[in-house]
């Protein structure tokens, strides 16, 4: 059903992006690098890439438009599970961890933590089982990449999970999907069952232990868990709490999950896209992965483009392309020729970029960090000049207030107050001090809570206050004007309020302050 209602959702066919990548390469070579040198001194982390540009065609999303891409038959026909078969029980796990570490793969879930490094932090020799928990909660607004990976290519993820579990020595992987991914859940579940039937998942996978090559037995269980509509279950420890059968309450870190996670055992948490990419990195090697991207952000990533562009959708591109290229080339430019006002670059939590910053930004972790924002989960939302920034921030704050789990006071109350005060602005009731109040609340929420949802709520607020303060001030002026009108009206028809003011003024209050006037 949802297939039918989604005619050709992503605009990223196999051919066009390749062509476009070439085009942009040609543009660059033809002397287009105007913004790069200008921003180079201010942005030390993003030097003009010295690497020659390698043409790129989608890797993770390559097959999503082919019918039946979610079936084992389709996956096997394109060499599926061969990588896992050739490595499981053969390659020493440490080598796989090193390979992923060398490839420079960084987590695609939001924080961008180097994946190989995370794996190497795993507590060893505890005698406890090790778990892999794959994060498919994808509730960061503006992000919809994992949906495609789960619905269109679940076997790619399952193979990645097999390789990862083998590398970290885990016998049990949990894949946590948000409850709203109904089709994704069905397909992933079916994919795991198919893999089980083939002996890729289960006991002695790929015939290890009886292949005659002295490989040790490798067992693996993959459990698909369905969440039920809580953003906070995307936070890694919140997700673990949910898998443990509780409310999705995040836990204080340290101990990090790699030391004490699921059921108190060492656990690795990775995003669906990260694990899917592992499949290809193990298959093609480090050099292959490093031919794209920048020094510190190697490889490719899926970006989700939404908002006022002509062709919104998912686009898999090498890291380090310019934001402009993403919007103008992939996104087809602004819708109806509108003017760009701002861009939210990495899911709703990422501080907003103004039009000038957009010209400087490139899509890698360092460039966006140097602009005071973040790459996050790769959800790019383009806001045009018609968008009212005040309603935008109000909507955003409502989201965080709704999704705060309520464990920490600064977050529970802070998100509530941010919502209330921005609601005030939204309804023309914001006064002068309120702008400072918003800034103050946001500042006091950061770094004082169990998980970073509080920061994730405060960051967009601070971003908007910093870059679009004018919008808030205009609203305050408007309010003052409206209220002046109202006062004038009240003076004509005196109300109880005005009588109070004259009848029992401040002096009367002073006299009775000690209660002597019974």
């Amino acid at each position: 059903m949802s297939d039918a209602s989604k005619p050709n959702p992503a605009g990223s066919g196999d051919v066009p992006p390749v062509k476009k990548a070439d085009e942009s390469a040609a543009q660059k070579a033809a002397g287009a690098p105007q913004p790069a040198p200008v921003s180079a001194p201010a942005v030390p982390a993003a030097p003009a890439e010295p690497k020659p540009k390698v043409p790129f065609s989608p890797v993770l999303l390559k097959h999503i438009h082919e019918p039946g891409s979610h079936t084992l038959a389709h996956y096997a026909a394109r060499g599926g599970y061969e990588t896992a078969r050739s490595h499981v029980g053969v390659t020493p796990p440490g080598d796989l961890i090193k390979l992923v570490d060398d490839s420079g793969l960084r987590g695609r879930g939001g924080a961008g933590f180097p994946t190989g490094k995370k794996w190497s932090f795993l507590a060893k020799g505890t005698g406890k089982p090790i778990y892999l928990a794959i994060n498919g909660d994808e509730s960061e607004p503006g992000t919809f990449k994992d949906r495609y990976l789960l619905e269109k290519d679940p076997h790619q993820l399952v193979e990645g999970a097999i390789l990862t579990c083998y590398a970290i020595g885990s016998k049990h992987a949990f894949i946590y999907l948000r409850g709203e991914f109904i089709l994704g859940f069905q397909r992933l579940h079916a994919a795991v069952e198919e893999a089980k039937a083939k002996g890729y998942v289960g006991k002695k996978i790929f015939g290890t232990g009886s292949r005659g090559d002295a490989s040790p037995e490798v067992d693996l269980t993959i459990t698909v868990v369905r969440g039920a509509g809580a953003y906070i279950c995307g936070e890694e420890t919140g997700m673990l709490s949910s898998i443990e059968g509780g409310r999705g309450y995040p836990k204080i870190k340290p101990p990090f999950p790699a030391v004490s996670g699921l059921f108190g055992c060492p656990t690795i948490v990775n995003n669906v896209e990260t694990i899917s990419a592992v499949t290809h990195i193990v298959k093609h090697g480090v050099a292959w992965h490093k031919q794209w991207g920048t020094e510190k952000s190697p490889g490719f990533k899926i970006f989700c483009l939404s908002g006022a562009v002509r062709k919104p959708g998912v686009y898999e591109v090498p890291l380090g392309i310019t934001m402009r290229e993403m919007i103008d080339t992939y996104g087809g430019g602004m819708k109806d020729g509108r003017k760009l006002k701002a861009v939210i670059p990495g899911g709703l939590s990422a501080p907003v970029l103004t039009a000038e910053m957009v010209d400087k930004a490139t899509l890698d972790y360092e460039s966006l960090a140097s602009l005071g924002s973040m790459l996050g989960s790769g959800g790019i939302t383009v806001l045009d000049e018609q968008v009212d920034m005040i309603s935008t921030i109000y909507n955003t704050m409502r989201f965080y207030h709704h999704e705060s789990c309520g464990q920490c006071t600064p977050c529970r109350e802070g998100t509530g107050w941010l919502e209330k005060v921005s609601h005030r602005f939204h309804h023309n009731q914001g006064h002068q001090g309120d702008i400072e109040l918003l800034g103050d609340i946001a500042k006091n929420m950061r770094g004082r809570t169990i998980c970073v949802l509080a920061d994730a709520a405060a960051m967009p607020m601070q971003g908007f206050l910093q870059h679009f303060r004018k919008d808030f001030e205009a609203k305050v002026k408007e309010t003052a004007f409206v209220e002046k009108q109202r006062t004038y009206r009240d003076e004509i028809t005196p109300t109880a309020k005005t009588i109070t003011a004259t009848g029992a003024g401040p002096s009367a209050l002073d006299v009775g302050s000690n209660g002597s006037k019974g």
Partner: protein, 276 residues
């Protein structure tokens, strides 16, 4: 939802779902961790997670009913008895709300079913609510209903879908226009299910004492009065109440610095005069 039935309550799922439960119990490290999935079973079995379902789930997963209730109230996607049979969930987060897509979808639903977000039709067949990001932000508005997911759900597509559902139920838009909808009472049920429990099964009988505010001794073994729904909504304007009472109780007609913030009305003698 908390009916006072004396019919023996069910204590298990149907055999197929029990089989499924045993599968989960084997796969998960402990029974508690299977809760998310077992609650989904309950949802399938009962159509929504009723008090009775919570009781069964608690028994199966070896946790307190209150824990299950805590889960069900934390996770918003579980279907509850107060939701309509067809539950419309319309994404209201920024990406969908831009260009008024959310409002367009909500208006169409209102036009056909007469319900706004937070409401249910009088017959309980349809309900509508705003939800947060449904992760398909490139094709707004995103709507989910009956375990189906729809993108770009406005205009003719949405109307057709609404008509289809109306036809299936043998209802018409005119009926819903004529009869007022009801607000979905999303509060936790006032009583946990087992207060009405018949007892006598291995996990059924629980002990209550007289201190329990809901248990009235002398009303039979395990039968209690179920408080009906509150007549007034929970959001009574609080300031007014505080204001009136505060003035009266300390016997002053309002010249009270401690209560200064609330004394706007009292000071002009409007409230206070009556009592002094």
């Amino acid at each position: 939802m908390s009916t006072q039935s004396t019919v023996a309550r069910r204590t298990e799922f149907s055999p197929e779902r029990m089989a499924k439960f045993h599968e989960y119990a084997e796969e998960y490290p402990n029974k508690r961790s299977a809760l998310m999935m077992v609650l989904r079973l309950a949802e399938e079995e009962f159509g929504s997670i009723t008090d009775e379902a919570m009781e069964i789930v608690a028994g199966l997963c070896n946790v307190a009913v209150s824990h299950v209730q805590g889960m069900v109230t934390f996770y918003t996607h579980f279907k509850r008895p107060f939701h309509g049979k067809h539950r419309f969930m319309v994404c209201a987060t920024l990406m969908c709300a831009l260009e008024n897509n959310t409002d367009a979808a909500l208006d169409q639903i209102k036009a056909k079913l007469g319900i706004k977000p937070g409401q249910r039709t009088h017959d309980g067949l349809f309900s509508c609510e705003k939800v947060e990001c449904l992760a398909d932000c490139d094709q707004p508005p995103v709507v989910q209903c009956d375990n189906e997911h729809f993108c770009s759900m406005k205009g003719a597509v949405l109307d057709q879908y609404l008509d289809k559902l109306l036809k299936e139920e043998g209802k018409s838009a005119a009926e819903y226009a004529a009869k007022a909808p009801v607000a979905m009472d999303t509060r936790v049920p006032t009583l946990p299910a087992h207060y009405n429990f018949q007892g006598g099964t291995e996990k059924g009988a629980r002990h209550f004492d007289d201190k329990d505010p809901y248990f009235k001794a002398g009303e039979g073994d395990l039968h209690t009065q179920v408080p009906g729904p509150l007549a007034t909504p929970l959001t009574v304007p609080v300031a007014d109440g505080v204001n009136g009472k505060g003035t009266v109780s300390n016997g002053r007609s309002g010249h009270d610095s401690a209560g200064g913030a609330f004394n706007g009305n009292g000071a002009n003698g409007k409230n206070g005069a009556k009592h002094v």
